[in-house]
Amino acid sequence: MKNPTDIKEKVRKNLIWKSVFRRDYRNTVRDRAQAIFGNIFLHLHPVQVREGAVKLRFTWGMGGITFFAFIILVITGVVLMFYYHPSIDQAYSDIKDLEFQVPFGVILRNLHRWGAHFMVIVVMIHMFRVFMTGSYKAPRQFNWGIGVILLVLTFLLSFTGYLTPWDQLGFWAITVGTNMGAATPLLGYQGPFSEFLHITPFNDVRFALLGGSRVADNALLRAYIWHCVAIPLVSVILMFVHFWRVRKDGGISKPQTQK
């Protein structure tokens, strides 16, 4: 008890400590493996990985960075929701208030905004890397497909988030974006062949997106739900499929030269 080592010892022998960490870490092979599969967060990893996975040269870490950016966005996003009302009367002033009076409101919003830009950039480079190393080839074809869908979901996440501040930028981006939906062949009222299905502005794709014939309160609420709940949920599920597949397909792809 007299010197720090004793206290450390005492703490480590404590029942509570043991219940959390189970055993001492003595850097044996067993311990290193235990550290990975005994921890839910590290559990995604295999116990051993290819040496190349540890070097930045091959993967550039882009997939991991994308996931980390996503986590940052989820955290900042959830926190921002505490001060945000998805209604056209309040949304804009809520954002102004985040900037001007809510403690740490500015930094959270900035992190969310720049984190979103960053994630889009990183996810694109991730795709480029996977293509350049041919990592989509057998047996990873399906996982590439998941990745493409995740890329699209990333764009949609960012896009739906555009409307939430209810400013000119988002309003017109969404207006133009959803008007493209109106041009869908068959299903959009301005698209080709739509007259055969009696499509009007009130029963086309765009209407479903906006919850009305123009960008207004319903559209904001829909964008908000898509942005905060629906798309993240789908993304998380697909992400785990994505990670799971990476592991099941043998981790980071490995040179398979045909000699």
């Binding site: 870490y25 003595r26 850097n27 290193r32 926190v79 505490f82 001060y83 208030d97 009076q101 809510v102 403690p103 740490f104 409101g105 959270l108």
Partner: protein
């Protein structure tokens, strides 16, 4: 395998693996420096997390509220007949303006001291009756029936410069069990 050596926190752990094979002085020095650096790194990380936790908590206390003002004017004394309870300001400010038979005024929070429901004034029975659990109060706010533990709370009532009555909710006179608030807090009563 050697890769993880420097990643260890404790010196003795390292020894457990490598024994005394690397006993060179330079090696020891660089090890201790690495250990120190590691400590600095983890300490910074802990500091980062601590500050973030504090910031996260601070985040929940906005600097501005959009609630009704805590100081508000409620008209001129002459607007209130003696022996009446005025519920005009109950909706927005949660306050009754009460004038007793002797002509003195006070402002009372419209909140039952039991579990915070809003009692209503029963003119016929001259009492406040809480709909939640049946607590009853006299016009002075003194509880006499039901589970309420103490009389209802009062706010500071004064005369503003323009002659209007002004309620200041930041100054509160909490009811003391079994005592008339008017006797405990003579300053809660305003005589005009």
């Amino acid at each position: 395998m050697q890769d993880d050596k420097e990643l260890m926190k404790g010196h003795h752990e390292e020894k457990a693996v490598h024994g005394t094979t690397h006993a060179a002085a330079g090696q020891a020095e660089s090890d201790s420096r690495r250990q120190f650096l590691n400590r600095v790194g983890w300490a910074s990380l802990a500091g980062f997390l601590a500050i973030n936790t504090a910031a996260f908590l601070r985040f929940f206390y906005p600097r501005v509220l959009f609630e009704p003002a805590s100081r508000f004017k409620v008209g001129f004394p002459a607007d209130y007949p003696p022996g009446t309870v005025n519920s005009q300001y109950q909706k927005e400010f949660g306050t009754w303006i009460i004038r007793l038979q002797d002509g003195s005024f006070f402002a009372m929070e419209s909140r039952c001291t039991h579990l915070g429901c809003t009692p209503s004034w029963m003119e016929a029975q001259k009492k406040f009756k809480c709909p939640c659990h049946g607590s009853g109060y006299y016009i002075t706010g003194l509880n006499f029936e039901g589970p309420a533990p103490r009389p209802m709370d009062r706010f500071k009532l004064s005369i503003a410069e323009d002659g209007q009555l002004q309620v200041d909710k930041t100054i509160k006179y909490p009811g003391i069990p079994g005592k008339e608030s008017g006797e405990v807090y003579p300053q809660s009563l305003l005589r005009v």
